[in-house]
Symmetry: C2
Subunit: 522 residues, 2 copies
């Protein structure tokens, strides 16, 4: 019941909800015999082992359900503790047995009962209908994501503030880096490091720091409680610690460790990289290898993407589940979805902000425009915000500002509320929205539809006072004029059919929502 | 002196100036012995001739100046009157002698003295420095034009209103059609027709209506008095009278008549067509022929262009003096000027307005943006305005509104004042502005410069609060922040050199004017 309430409130930014959610998040580590579908069964085992427990101990478990067998890897969590995490995808009785080269960890058996998913638990996000997403329970999922690259590497009070902001319900996905980030406005040391050793560069890549990953998975669990997918960036180039260039063997160990620890979280997505093409020490074949490794080790087949700087990775690769693209040209959504036959997310299309870098100086209006343009071209778009408010003295790159895009915190812009408004419109559609034949002449304004039942038609910055639109004959439609900036929905009087003249407000950022009359008897 | 005063006032829209100018315009038909350089010497001859005076009478004159000879054609002006018009381009004594197959018109001799150009008379516009324009006296000319396709075909009081608006000095060029136009908001009959006959289609293409052309040339003369170039559209497709498809022989006769009557006006440009590619009865070889015909018959070599709808004509044609293009993408100016090595004018880049046609529903901000984008890419841009103010009842295309773009009248928009502001900045530069190497990193914002002395750098809709720019080393610059929308010029404190950080207002439509310190002694 708690869960259901939260779900309903998701959009409305209640200030208290996230405390409750943090509490829920803290309860996922359970050893109860009943495990809810798509939540985590965790087995914790103790053993004192000589040598390197990360490398020398092999541990996995097989989970059995009727004719199904799922094998998952275990991981070392420090303090002589080994763990196995498993996300059951089927209800009913599951049994398991461990396998290990350490006797104390080997042949451990047990069972649990997988109970039905409760309200608000829709399972992991999967690709459906070629170019769309749904949750595993077939509830449609439309990504409206944001980016906070290094938010998990900030002090606890700032993380709390970020989660508070995220709890306000603007977004249902967030991109962030597993590794800390070194870049303008991202120069602070992280509170923890992923490996044993000494900053800046004296790391033992063969020994993970379990506390580091425990900290991250706590955030992932909280995001899940907020209904937010965690789009995890595995590698990225903005690095002063050497994590971007550890070599193939260490990379592989890191990937296996991530999968073993995190794959059981239903809201995890794997993003191979942020700006893969800026990582000069990794070749295309390395990325292909990582994709294959995730595909072979992740038993749940979480979504996998790879984000580019200037060159799009070959998205024909069958392990890439969706096109995650950096490009300001969200009008290309229609082309990309047709080309790759995968869902398309413009995860980075420049950010709303005012920094001296041109990827971060969009007005809110331009950001909103990019979202509407993407959506009405059959794609999805990602948000980010880069506002400097403190006027810097010497270099703008060294200000103490907390930019949402890097550290999280609070939102200063004006686009996120409009994005949430758009999200509500999309989620309110009777089904998935596909690029539709033009409803206009001369200039083909972008339009998506659900069959002939529902249309979203977007006029961008144009300001016509009237528009002729061509609706299907023999059906009657109600038309709402959408002011995408002022977030108003104004129904037009009467119903419409065939070629019809629509009065518009004569200003920019206007869209139409066109819905077939529900009491239609034709 | 009168002329000089008017020149100074051009930008400031005095309400009385154009009455004076109309008076001046009415005085160009002179037979005085002194003819000012680049003004019109006109010889008027009488003869009663049997047959068709337009076709059967051959009349020309040779004008001699020292070693020069210029031959110009005469034309029949009705009432047994034949005229020869000549624009002397050299000072001093000119003699002439007529040639005709009619004895009464043949071997007429005379002379006149060409006096120096007075203030405000800079001669016709010519191409200079590959991609620029100047007047014949080498005064730079930067086209900031508008479009009123059918303004000369409107009632006299509306023409007066249009001239009143034009006298306010926003524009120094206007595109309009010689033939009347049939199109949405352009459905009224013209007061006069170009040929003898009966509307709608019973014309004798071999007999011109001199009153029709006299009316047009009166407007051309008035435009000249206002410092406005007349970009005459010879053919266009929006026609219900048959003028767009008269056949080669009639077309040629029409062109010869135009040249004989109008070429002596220094402010005439020849635009072969509006949207040549929408005239399905004329092939590319027809347009090549027309260009050659103008080139061979016009003794002054007036500028020649050809305007497209969707397909650019082959602008390698040597008779085309400048690229007159319809395209919304004014950022392509740099590419086009490099490709064709000619001046580039985006004479139609969509219009400010609110009509249901997408070529006419730009906001003023978008229009201003297109101008700045074109200018900072080394090209020029044309204005047009299409506002419906009266709310139509049935069809938006049938309203009684007077749209500037079709009929002239008054301006209702907000871009023209900003265009005049930009024009002042360009005219205030120390010389021609060429695309310059980028002053910025990451994103190359468009920038034009005059050598290393003067730069215009434009940030478009971006809203950075600071920008690093890379100025030449060893020179000191003053920087003005230009608010292109609010039309303010705000000098920054101090002087700048090399790589420097500039504070910006953090809002869209900002540009920088960067000028070398004049008291520089390096």
């Amino acid at each position: 019941m708690k869960q259901k309430k939260i779900e309903k409130r998701r959009y409305y930014g209640h200030q208290v909800a996230w405390f409750i959610l943090l509490f829920i998040a803290s309860t996922w580590q359970t050893s109860a015999k009943d495990i809810e579908k798509w939540r985590i069964f965790e087995l914790s085992l103790s053993a004192e082992v000589q040598g390197n427990p990360f490398c020398d101990v092999q541990l996995s478990a097989r989970f059995f359900h009727e004719d199904d067998t799922v094998e998952v890897m275990g991981f070392y969590d420090g303090n002589d503790t080994y763990k196995i995490r498993f996300m059951p995808e089927k209800e009913g009785k599951w049994t398991y047995q461990t396998l290990s080269n350490v006797r104390k960890l080997n042949r451990k058996k047990g069972q649990f009962n997988c109970t039905p998913a409760q309200a608000g638990n829709h399972g992991p996000v999967v690709v459906t209908d070629t170019s769309f997403f749904s949750y595993a329970d077939e509830t449609p999922y439309h990504p409206f994501g944001t980016t906070c690259y290094a938010w998990v590497h900030q002090p606890e009070n700032l993380i709390r503030q970020t989660l508070q902001t995220l709890s306000e319900g603007y977004f249902n996905k967030i991109r962030f880096c597993i590794f800390p980030k070194h870049y303008d406005w991202n120069k602070n040391e992280p509170p923890l490091y992923p490996f044993e050793g000494q900053a800046p560069k004296a790391w033992d890549f063969a020994r993970f720091n379990p506390a580091y990953f425990r900290h991250i998975e706590r955030q992932i669990a909280t995001l899940d409680s907020l209904g937010i997918e965690a789009d995890l960036i595995v590698f990225h180039p903005y690095d002063r610690w050497g994590f971007s260039d550890m070599g193939r063997e260490a990379d592989d160990r890191y990937i296996s460790y991530l999968v073993a620890r995190l794959a059981a979280f239903k809201n995890v997505w794997w993003s191979m990289a942020n700006e893969f093409d800026y990582m000069k020490n990794k070749a295309d074949e390395d990325w292909t290898h990582y994709l294959e490794k995730f595909a072979s080790e992740d038993p749940y087949g979480h979504l996998k993407g790879i984000h580019n700087a200037v060159r799009l990775f070959d998205h024909n690769n069958p392990h890439i589940t969706h096109v995650c693209i950096q490009s300001p040209n969200t009008e290309n959504g229609k082309k990309l979805r047709a080309q790759y036959r995968k869902p398309v997310i413009f995860d980075e299309c420049r950010y709303e902000g005012n920094v001296p870098w041109t990827w971060g100086n969009l007005t809110a209006r331009e950001m909103v425009h990019k979202f509407w343009t993407g959506i009405t071209n059959g794609a999805y778009v990602g948000h980010g915000e880069t506002y400097i408010t403190e006027m810097p003295r010497k270099s703008p790159f060294e200000s103490d500002d907390v930019l949402w895009w890097s550290k999280g915190g609070t939102l200063h812009g004006q686009s996120h509320t409009r994005i949430a408004f758009l999200r509500k419109l999309v989620e309110g559609a009777p089904g998935y929205l596909r690029p539709a034949p033009s409803l206009t002449s001369w200039m083909n304004y972008p339009v998506v539809s659900h069959g002939e039942d529902f249309y979203l038609l977007y006029f961008g910055f144009d300001q016509a006072c009237q528009q002729i639109i061509h609706l299907p004959q023999g059906k009657r439609y109600r038309i709402d004029v959408i002011d995408t900036w002022n977030m108003t929905v104004t129904p037009l009087n009467g119903t419409f059919s065939g070629t019809t003249l629509v009065n518009l407000p004569g200003k920019p950022l206007i869209a139409l929502r066109i819905q077939k009359q529900t009491n239609d008897h034709e």
